[in-house]
């Protein structure tokens, strides 16, 4: 062990503030250098001064209880405060990342009438099999799915022949927030000649179709 390691090890174990630790290190180094100048070897000096534990215990026994308590409190705070910060951040992050739904009337991004109109238009385009218009108003990930095959697949889960659309039912919608993503999700029941279908349609902030589900 060299002198600096020895002194640093002692300072780490002494229960006092950083300023005093620095002072202790400086003084111990000074003593060691003086002894070395007098011809003593480091091993002899360390054996005279005591082990790291002995010398640190000596300091701690003579440091006031008040200062030791302050040291322990500061050390605990140094651990507790980052833990609180990390836990708070994690709670906030989980809240932020978890999808949350809000009343669309309170939304900064969506207007109920606008979403309702977009939903009705999407359904009309689907019924008319106007895939080009549907794709133009959809997010890129959705565009390749908006085709005859998908439409028939969705329709087939309910009934082979839906017949002509008769009327739109009530519309329910919410704003869905997940992280920085804001979506409008609406449900509407549509009555056809042979079936009643409930569409769940999702739109992004630019009112592009981002999801479609029929039951």
């Amino acid at each position: 062990m060299d002198a600096e390691k020895y002194v640093n090890a002692i300072a780490r174990k002494v229960k006092c503030n950083g300023k005093k630790k620095k002072e202790i290190k400086k003084q111990l180094m000074m003593d060691i250098h003086m002894r070395m100048k007098q011809g003593e070897r480091l091993e002899e000096i360390i054996s005279q001064m005591g082990t790291v534990k002995e010398i640190a215990d000596g300091f701690n026994e003579n440091i006031s209880l008040k200062e030791q308590k302050r040291y322990v409190r500061n050390k605990v705070l140094k651990i507790v405060i980052p833990v609180i910060v990390i836990v708070t951040f994690l709670i906030w992050f989980v809240y932020w990342i978890f999808p949350k739904s809000f009343d669309i009337e309170q939304s900064k991004y969506f207007k109920r009438e606008q979403v309702e109109a977009a939903m009705k238009e999407t359904i009309a385009l689907l019924d008319a099999e106007d895939y080009i218009a549907l794709q133009e108003n959809a997010i890129p990930q959705m565009q390749s799915l908006l085709n005859a095959e998908t439409r028939e697949g969705m329709r087939g889960t309910l009934c082979d022949d839906w017949g002509e659309r008769k009327q739109f039912g009530a519309v329910y919608m919410v704003e869905l927030v997940q992280g920085n993503t804001h979506l409008a999700v609406g449900e509407i029941t549509v009555t056809y000649e042979n079936v009643s279908a409930t569409y769940r349609l999702t739109y992004d902030k630019d009112m592009r179709l981002a999801g479609i589900y029929v039951r």
Binding site: K20, I24, Q27, M30, M49, G50, I55, F59, N62
Partner: protein
């Protein structure tokens, strides 16, 4: 067992001895350790971990002041401790207490 009593008795007089050594002139830590050892004929073999906290406490109580010396040539910088006026006064008071206790102990022991 003896160790325990010896340690306790020594602990009670260390402040007084350190102040007494500083009365003549300012001294640095290692010098105090050496003087205590020599003058007490090795009765007081103080370690750094014992002396420095005493000096820090005396300094906090304004009984001593400290000053780092400038390093000259190859000389290691030293921290000198000097007794203050309040320290001199405290030393006189401690010595008076010590004398009273010492006399009291002697009277009991002589019985």
């Amino acid at each position: 067992m003896n160790d325990k009593y010896e340690r306790q008795m020594k602990k009670g007089v260390l402040d007084m001895l350190v102040l007494r050594l500083l009365k003549s002139e300012p001294k640095y830590g290692y010098q105090i350790i050496q003087e205590l050892k020599e003058k007490s004929e090795e009765t007081f073999l103080l370690k750094d971990g014992t002396l420095y906290p005493i000096l820090y406490r005396l300094e906090d109580d304004k009984l001593v002041v400290s000053k780092w010396s400038e390093a000259e040539g190859k000389q290691v910088p030293r921290k000198y401790y000097e007794i203050t006026e309040a320290g001199q006064k405290a030393l006189d008071e401690i010595l008076a207490v010590w004398k009273r206790i010492s006399d009291g102990i002697s009277k009991i022991m002589e019985d």
